[in-house]
């Protein structure tokens, strides 16, 4: 099998803009799916609205596309009703931690066996470039024409605080690292969060003097540092950097298992 056996080839090319690296996340996911021999029939991908949320509709799995921000809520329902099925959620950063922030923290708290893959492009791509809670200070958006004034969310810290039992961050430049952590996220039992730094040339790049898709990927290369390198850096040196690595890898009782056990006991009585 090839990684391209997991796409709906007839619907290609992808709708995305030239150089939109949400597609690179898809590329890596398909390779990992191929390596893990993911069973299409037994895998459900849940996604919602946004450019990142639309891509899975081009993939050959059972795909459930729902309302903006609610992918994890629907995914929770799927997983509770069919614990035997593998559930993967693709979200944009707006989808995951703006409108969907509440669902995100509670899915993490519950430790339900779902893999959440969050494409962090620092902007609302689909709706025309409004700032996201992940837009770094100083960067421009349609709703921040003079530069973002708010501090940004650290998605991994948020996931960690909420109880996600696997938390990692990677990016589309460090492609072999992305492959490795994506595989770990997809094989982890419990709620796993994988944040991937991506780029939106159309809505973020154009407004921030990086319309060329290459410039944005170069920026990602230049602002990311590995965990090991970060350990030797001062707070000042880390100021404008994004650390990539695996931050949490732990085990905790998983929700559907607790639920099934409870059901079993209640049925006996």
């Amino acid at each position: 099998m090839s990684y391209l056996d997991y796409i709906k080839e007839k619907q290609f090319p992808l709708f995305t803009c030239a150089g939109c690296t949400h597609g690179t996340v898809t590329n890596t996911f398909l390779r990992v799916a191929d390596e893990l021999k993911l069973d299409k029939e037994n895998t459900v991908i849940v996604c919602a609205i946004g450019c990142a949320g639309r891509i899975p509709t081009f993939l050959d799995f059972n795909v459930l596309r729902v309302t903006h921000g609610r992918a994890l809520a629907f995914a929770t329902g799927v997983k509770l009703s069919r614990p035997d099925v593998k559930v993967i959620v693709f979200m944009g950063d707006g989808d995951a931690v703006a409108i969907g922030g509440n669902h995100f923290i509670h899915a993490a708290r519950r430790n339900i066996d779902i893999t959440a893959i969050i494409s962090h492009n620092e902007i609302y791509g689909m709706t025309g470039g409004q700032y996201a809670p992940t837009t770094l200070q100083g960067f421009k958006a349609t709703t921040a024409p003079y530069g973002m004034i708010e501090p940004a969310f650290d998605v991994c810290e948020l996931a960690k605080g909420a109880g996600s039992t696997y938390v990692a961050r990677s990016d589309v430049y460090h492609i072999n690292h992305l492959h490795k952590v994506m595989k770990n996220a997809l094989t982890h039992k419990g709620f796993s969060t994988l944040e991937v730094i991506t780029s939106c040339p159309t809505q973020f790049g154009r407004r921030n003097k990086m319309a060329d898709p290459i410039k944005l990927v170069e920026r990602i290369r230049d602002i990311t540092v590995t965990q090991t390198a970060a350990e030797k850096m001062s707070v000042e040196e880390l100021k404008d950097k994004i650390v990539i690595g695996e931050f949490v890898k732990t085990e905790r009782p998983e929700l559907t298992e607790i639920y099934e056990e409870k059901l079993g006991k209640l049925r006996k009585n």
Partner: protein, 67 residues
């Protein structure tokens, strides 16, 4: 016996973003005057797959050939 690599671009899907070109360690690609992606140095390809793996449109393919 030596190993050579064949570089294949699916032109129907390629959007000429240049991400493959920019990070190829062997300078296998270039843009023509219309900013269309060209393979100019296939013989130098070392098969690292950096282009294939980073391509956001799944349209790059490196084929290994034993000679």
């Amino acid at each position: 016996m030596s190993t050579a690599y064949k570089v294949q671009i699916n032109r129907k899907w390629c959007k000429n973003c240049g991400i493959c070109l920019a990070f190829c360690p062997k300078n296998v690609f270039s843009f023509d005057e219309k900013k269309k992606l060209q393979i100019v140095n296939e013989i130098q390809c070392s098969g690292c797959l950096m282009c294939e793996k980073r391509c956001p449109d799944m349209c790059m393919k490196i084929i290994r050939e034993e000679e």
